[in-house]
């Protein structure tokens, strides 16, 4: 009955987020294209909430592990957009560190899912 509801919420949310005012970026309101980048931040945060929904409601553990992996990859994109929009270059360092940590944790969780020990 409610199969259409998820897609409707997503599309209405994207259209509403494009219409509303962008995030003001507390430090540098004078940079070029800062309104466009604020709206991209809204959209990527919406996608992160979709991943959180799958983590909350995944029927099996494998669903949750997939969603955690995807969330980690998407946070790298968030850090990259923050690098442009605030002009501070250390956000991309957070992205690289998050990529390393996310890869290691995904491998460890999949080994745990497989049911073997970690030192095999």
């Amino acid at each position: 009955m409610f199969r259409w509801l998820t897609g409707a919420i997503i599309f209405i949310g994207i259209i509403a987020l494009i219409i509303i005012r962008p995030l003001p970026f507390l430090f540098y309101p004078d940079l070029p294209y800062v309104g466009f980048l604020g709206r991209t931040l809204y959209i990527i945060i919406l996608a992160c909430f979709l991943c959180l929904y799958r983590i909350w409601k995944g029927p099996t553990g494998a669903d949750r592990i997939v969603a955690i992996d995807i969330l980690g990859i998407m946070i790298i994109g968030l850090c990259s957009i923050l690098t442009i929009s605030t002009g501070r270059s250390w956000y991309i360092d957070i992205g690289i560190a998050w990529a390393l940590q996310s890869f290691i944790s995904t491998l460890a969780l999949s080994k745990y899912l497989e049911g073997r020990n970690f030192d095999e």
Partner: protein, 111 residues
């Protein structure tokens, strides 16, 4: 000019990210979700990072963005393969409408 090309790359990457996440929510099975989400989100994030490199230029942050692209392309298929193999070995059922399961046939052939 390179700013505008970078913004186009960022927009395309965002579209790939959002469609990958819609696939993660909407598809019926672990393997289908993995198939939809991992490829879309990896390509989308690599596109966002390349747009960052085009906007920032040949600075330290741009070089780190290129390094992050290489690292993502190397490691993301490995992680997806590990998740799929672990889920299949843990006994997660396939969707009812699935047509073929080659990995189970291979395991039966070995045993």
């Amino acid at each position: 000019m390179s700013n505008i090309i970078g913004l186009i790359f960022i927009t395309v990457g965002l579209a790939f990210d959002v469609f990958g996440c819609i696939g993660l929510v909407r598809l019926p099975d672990v393997y289908n979700r993995l198939q939809a989400a991992t490829k879309c989100v990896t390509l989308g994030t690599c596109s966002i990072l390349f747009g960052t490199f085009l906007i920032v230029g040949f600075t330290a942050a741009g070089m780190k963005a290129l390094l992050c692209i290489i690292f993502l392309i190397l490691t993301s298929p490995v992680a997806a393969h590990a998740i799929a193999r672990g889920a299949h070995r843990a006994g997660v059922k396939l969707w009812d409408g699935s047509v073929v399961d080659k990995y189970a046939e291979d395991k039966e052939g070995e045993a």
